[in-house]
């Protein structure tokens, strides 16, 4: 009788402990920090064993501390935990992390689950902010595969259309790039953004969107010079959100943060969501594109994807705003003079870059179309 009461008391204390921050925080911290290597592949990595070992030590330490604190020994601990009261579902769930010390498979599935949770969380954050995922991030994310499949079909159509318009897009870019401010190309971001400002008086007609779109495009195109830069450019567009996806952390060049104090850039930033809704849509569809190109090397893929995204954006702009496009050409040339006189060397450099980019684009096009 008395023994039973004691068991109850011990169990209650243990259950309380397993729900308390003293237990939950160190254990979930451990899992969050260590879970990133746990994937759902059939095969386990050798490091899993090491991490499991560390986990055992942690749990042992925590439980030891608690047992000392409430003054029970292991015997009492076991008795309490194996009492009928401990068989309830809620208690069993609480015990899971404890049992995982002795059960590698359970531990592994807990870690895999945690990793998935974190990844999904990160993806959600990115999606919330951007409406779509940068493609370089969809590659490694298994969670996307279903979505990818769905979107594959749409994408193929989009690609077909885009191929037709691709050359046009290229030539337009040729025009645009000399005129365009060099926000994304290693020029200091603030001036770049400022240069853009005059072309987009707030509240003026929708036509202004095109230059903005093109600026974004150039920003991106500037990034095409190297795969590394590509990811930087992607980063500028797609927030600095995720820790799971390191690319995103790349230095922000012409993008949001430095642009904040400058009205022009803010305008750019704010106009993006509304004006390029279609683009984002497009981009979202593109999430499925990584699949068929998996044969390409990673950097090639990234570049190809990025280029495609930009191209489709351009189309979306054209499609979405037939007027805007016509007006865009004059408007696009309008800002021509300012940058040119300011820094002649830049334009020379630009030409070189443009040359490079065009070459790259050709190559990519070939690769992409072949597939």
């Amino acid at each position: 009788m008395a023994e039973e009461e004691e068991e109850d008391w011990v169990l209650e204390s243990i259950v309380g402990y397993l729900g308390s921050p003293e237990w939950v925080i160190p254990v979930s911290d451990f899992m969050e920090i260590k879970c990133s290597v746990f994937d759902d592949e059939d095969e386990s990595k050798l490091t899993y064993t090491e991490i499991h070992q560390q986990y055992k030590q942690l749990v042992e330490k925590l439980l030891d501390n608690h047992m000392q604190e409430i003054g029970i020994n292991e015997q009492q601990f076991v008795e309490a935990c194996t009492s009928p009261f401990a068989k309830s579902k809620t208690v069993q769930v609480l015990f899971q992390p404890v049992l995982a010390t002795d059960d590698f498979q359970m531990f592994r599935s807990l870690m895999v689950q945690k990793n998935m949770e974190l990844q999904l969380q990160a993806l959600r954050v990115i999606k919330e902010r951007q409406g779509a995922l940068p493609e370089c991030l969809t590659d490694g994310a298994d969670v996307m595969s279903e979505l990818e499949q769905q979107e594959m079909k749409i994408l193929q159509e989009v690609l077909k259309k885009s191929k037709e318009e691709y050359d046009e897009g290229l030539s337009q870019r040729t025009v645009g790039s000399t005129s365009g401010p060099c926000s994304g190309r290693g020029a200091p971001p603030a001036p770049g953004a400022l240069e853009e400002a005059p072309t987009q008086d707030p509240g003026s007609s929708r036509a202004q969107v095109s230059p903005v779109g093109r600026a974004a495009l150039e920003e991106a195109a500037g990034g095409l010079n190297s795969p590394e830069e590509t990811s930087c450019a992607a980063a500028t567009k797609h927030t600095t959100a995720s820790k799971v996806l390191p690319v995103v952390r790349a230095p922000v060049k012409g993008g949001e943060p430095p642009a904040d104090p400058c009205p022009g850039a803010q305008e750019q930033g704010s106009s993006k969501p509304s004006s390029t809704e279609a683009c984002l849509d497009e981009a979202r569809r593109e999430a499925g594109i990584s699949k068929p190109y998996t044969e390409l090397s990673e950097s090639q893929q990234q570049r190809a994807q990025y280029l495609r995204e930009q191209r489709d954006k351009l189309q979306a702009l054209k499609r979405g705003q037939p007027n805007g496009r016509q007006m865009a050409s004059p408007e696009g040339r309008a800002p021509d003079p300012p940058p040119a006189p300011v820094t002649p060397e830049v334009s020379a450099e630009e030409k070189k870059k443009l040359q490079k980019r065009k070459h790259l684009a050709e190559k990519l096009k070939e690769e992409v179309i072949k597939k």
Binding site: D42, E43, S44, K45, L46, T47, Y48, T49, K56, E60, L63, D64, E74, F77, V78, C81, T82, K87, Q92, F95, V98, L99, T101, D102, D103, F104, Q105
Partner: protein, 188 residues
């Protein structure tokens, strides 16, 4: 129950609800011996898409009313040093040999004798699978047993079983041996 030393973890073992008895089995052998294929064959899984194991695989197989937790650890030379970490509390060692790979008989024999000397495997029963008997060039199990000097092992139960993990032939015989010898012994 070791009281205070490694106490708590052994205590936790008892918290497991299941009344089912479990066996921990470690599956070792040189690379390309067919360990993973054997594991999958034990678990009645597809054996056509197996690639060299870089880490390890673990599967739980129900057999003769027992739960067999089988650990298959990669056999490449660079992974072998990690074998030691998986030997704790092992109830049975399964050692897999590519019976057609005569050039490496010596190497595999050396690895086995090193394992046998491991403190953690003291007295642990040994089942050797002479795998790949489906290949024409495979040596018979008896020959391999001789080469490994299995008859000199006096400190443990041992058995050699010819098999083909790909076809499944002989695999069940080996498992029967496990159940007849190890399981019954453990239950006593």
């Amino acid at each position: 129950m070791g009281e205070s030393q490694k106490g708590l973890l052994s205590v936790i073992q008892k918290l497991k609800g299941s009344t089912e008895q479990e066996l921990r089995i470690v599956l070792l052998g040189l690379d390309n011996a067919g360990k993973t294929t054997l594991l999958k064959s034990l678990a009645s899984e597809e054996v056509n898409t197996i690639t060299p194991t870089q880490g390890f695989n673990i599967k739980s197989v129900a057999s003769h009313g027992m739960k067999l937790n089988v650990w298959d650890i990669g056999g490449q030379r660079k992974i072998r040093p990690f074998w030691k970490k998986y030997l704790d509390n092992t109830d049975l060692l399964i050692y897999v040999i590519d019976s057609a790979d005569k050039k490496r008989f010596e190497e595999t024999g050396l690895e086995l004798s090193e394992l046998i000397d491991e403190e953690n495997l003291k007295g642990v029963p040994l089942l050797v699978f002479a795998n790949k008997q489906d290949l024409a060039t495979a040596s018979p199990a008896s020959e391999i047993a001789e080469g490994l000097n299995l008859h000199t092992y006096r400190d443990r139960e041992w058995q050699i079983q010819a098999c083909s993990a790909v076809s499944g032939e002989g695999v069940q015989d080996g498992m029967n041996w496990i159940c007849n010898n190890i399981v019954n012994q453990k239950k006593k």
